[in-house]
Amino acid sequence: MSESTGITASTLARQIINRHPQVSSRPLGTNEIELVVPSDKIRGVVTMIDENVHDALPESIFGIDLENDKYELIYIFWSHSNRMLVQLRVSLEGERPEIDSTCDIFPGFEWHERETREMFGIEFKNHPDPRLLLLPDELEGVFPLRKRFQTDQSRLDETGIAPPKARPKTGGDDE
């Protein structure tokens, strides 16, 4: 607990950008910072966070579907001793995008990666346990949190009023 003194979000960002110049940063609030990380540098950046912030808490990883085969991954770290929030943003593209797994550095990310894989179809390379986490087996490969996965809205027709406008469909293999 006494191995390092405090580090601020901007100092950490500067250290990371010095090592990986492709990373760019954007402040979010007081001692909260967002780093935009290219997908091939994610392991380097997460390792640097692990080394420089001694009490980094891996809060979560989750995906965002930006439609048209574009995805974003958000990594969130919290450090209690520095009151610092670090958010990494990784842009991914493709039908089944791939990224390196970071769960050997932070074991707490293992299940978040499993969930992102089954919900968005983002492959985490070298993940030790790529089974489904929440979904039943018959929903493998359906990726329910992608925007093109349409849910059953038929109940809205029963209300007797005009249903709200449906979300525009953007192709894909929806059922």
């Binding site: 109940r155 809205l156 029963e158 209300t159 007797g160 009023i161």
Partner: protein
Amino acid sequence: MGFFSVLGDIYQILKHTFRQVFMRPFTYFFPFEDRIYPERTRGRHIHVRKNCTACAQCVRACPVVAIRIDKEDKMYEKDAALYFDYTRCIFCGLCVEACRFDALFHTPVVDLSEGDRDDLVYGPDKITTLDRDPLEWRGRRFR
């Protein structure tokens, strides 16, 4: 230590026992007797058709699509019939909050169980009144 502390323990136990014996039981003899529910209890709804303006705000506010509106069915000048599906309702209170004409309220009636699933869809005849047929079982009436 010794005799007096044991006596003290026995006194504690007896005090507790006597208090419990003469206390009113926590339980109720349910179908015949029910507890008094607080005023804000979000139980089944009551629909005051006289005030209703058929604006359908309750239908739009419902997160689980439990309300169906029939604008053709008019009893007064501009009201509408509401059908509440209590198999879906989660008693969140958003519909009552959305009603600006004092036409929809929660009631403290929470025992909604029915023998048939279809009976849980409360049509305009059931949702506008709190009266219901008394249930009889082995000669005793309850509700």
